[in-house]
Amino acid sequence: MVNFPPMETLDAARLQMAVSMIFHIVFACIGMVMPFFMVVSHYKWLKTKDKAYLSLTKAWQKGVAIFFVTGAVSGTILSFELGLLWPKFMLHAGPIIGMPFSLEGAAFFVEAIALGFYLYGWKKIKNQWFHWFTGLIIGISGVASGILVVSANGWMNSPSGFEYINGEFLNIDPVKALFNEAWFSQALHMVLAAFTATGFAVAGIHAWQIYLRRNIAIHRKAFTIALSFGAVAALFQPLSGDISAKDIAVRQPVKLAALEAHYETGKGVPLYIGGIVNEEKKEVTHKIELPKMLSFLAFGDFDAEVKGLNDFPEEDLPPVAITHYAFQLMVGLGTLLALLAILFFVSRKKKSLLRKRGFWLVFALAAPLGFIAVEAGWIVTEVGRQPWIIYNIMRTKDSVTPMEGIEYSLFIFTFLYILLALVVSWLMSRQITVFNRQNNSR
């Protein structure tokens, strides 16, 4: 028998939250962005009466239904888990960040209603443009939900809308909490990320089908719609990343220092690319240094002073290595996707590219990259905020549930999520097989 060391409730709870978020974010992004692809394809069907667009719309609609449900149930889990795992956090933060959550509830409700109309309305709704419009509502309310939830997360990074006096949260102003300083940069970054990740993932799946020479005509239509969204978002993302970096440089300097693994305070400090972090010795080896770039990127001034990790109290430091690696991964993948976006736009002009199989293979291989970047980005923002659950106000360890044995619920939830992910992937592959078969026989 192997004896595992007993797991601390705090670690188990953090892991369970992480696992839930990692899965939810994928389902939620797809559920939020795919309706737009579906609506565009639907629009083209109504305008051109090209049957290919109709069958594409119907195929994507099934994807939307499946991902909406998995997104909705995993979101329900998260809304409970906030209380189940972090009851002290919710006891105080619940009323303050209630505004985005209650509005999110409303947006989610609208989305569910619109989804009901759309999915079941093909024959029932007489006005086909109204039917199309309900599809658009799904997408818009989905994005609204996403922005609101991210705003709540923004509040954890940049708590506002209350006065913290002697451990009590007084004079609560929910509207101010909703429009906390982090909400805009975070929401912008997340919405663009969702479009990038989903666009590249969906386009990648269709590119793979084209690479395999299956129903090339229809998959190319799908590829173009999905990647048009993904590529535009990918090109804007570096800009939004710059806004975020400048934002946290001011608001959460310790997070900036952690994600750059920047230990020594100094002026005109370099930016590290890659590198291995040694948290014990507080140093980074094997890195590439870009002189003065960190100062420039953080403050727009090559000689600006950037505070290093050594100047923050030990107990306020987040895990540096994870944050740094995740950040590197996110930025690296984001850059790669932006380059692929350019390749895509070039291919719109230079059609000869589309005849090369390698072109399709590249995009097929890029399918998961956007989501890996999204996950890495959430690791940066969540791990980078530690040890705080509410930045500079409440520590994560002080908010965890007194319930024991959280590791068991962690195991079961992890199992459930992995199973769910496998089943959803399997269902998607079946959808594609059937889709190919149907469109062949026609």
């Binding site: 209380g83 002290k88 509830g105 929910p174 319930m403 459930l416």
Partner: protein, 343 residues
Amino acid sequence: MTTVVFLFLFVSIYFYLIFGGADFGVGILELLSSRKNRKVTKKIAYQIIGPVWEANHVWLIIVIVIMWIAFPNYYYIITTQLHIPLTLLLFGIVIRGTAFIFRHYDAVVDSSQSIYNKLFQYSSMVTPFVLGVSAGALISGKLIPVNTMEDYSFAEAFIFPWFNITSLLMGVFIASLVAFLSAVFLVGETSGEEQRIFIKRAKKANMSVAFSSLLIFGYGFYAEEVFIDHFFDNILSIILVIIAASLLVPIWIYLAKGKKVVIRVMVAIQVFLMLGAWAQSNFPSLIITTEGPVSIYENMAGEAVINSIAYALLAGSVLILPGLFHLFKSFGLFKVLPAPEKK
């Protein structure tokens, strides 16, 4: 504004109970059906519940969000001590929702369908049961006041609050109730032989509802539970329960005749009365602990928070209710209500 929030909380619980409940009930009916009838139930379930089931379950999220925003102290007690049943509830919700959609949208119809069916049916049974158990825990008098939690053992703090006779009976009660709701609902959607099946099913479920509620009261008397005192100290709640109980007679008569509109309305009223009696008799102490009732006014969120959530709810409902109404209307689920004005 506090009243508005209470009202929304009540209405959301009510809608979740009748709409979400009917939706759970379909799964229970499917589970308890013979092989032949199961097919019929399943087919009707798609037609009826497909378009609206997502919306039905959003009510639960609304309830949770109202709880944590406006009544954080209650939410704290519930999420810490009812950790286990709530976790089971989550498993149930996930499995049920995904199985329902998967069986509908799986591109290939093969043996995997029977797995989806099983998962859907069993989780439809377990989920309302644990929901009932959690609701029962609030009045069972076994929850412990938060500030003294360190003085209690693990079992006392995290198991007994919900693993007790009142809670478990509540679980049975809620599971029977949703099966009843759903059977009544399906009576209205069928005719002939199929309808007779659901009439029979509705009667059985109804007996189970009546029996379990008698058991809850009986046990409450026997164990001298606080919720029984609350109930008998409150004339209005007694009247509400008496009306609700006496509605059973016409419900059975009209059920036998297959009058779909009348029974739906009456059953909806009945549930309303029962929920009303519960709220009325316990309000404002909706949670009863080992050391007596805890008022919902204790540690309620501040005025600014209550106002903001009230406005958010009002604004949201302006947006949501017409849409929801149209959704129900479009898919013929509103036959029971006075015909809405033609567009």
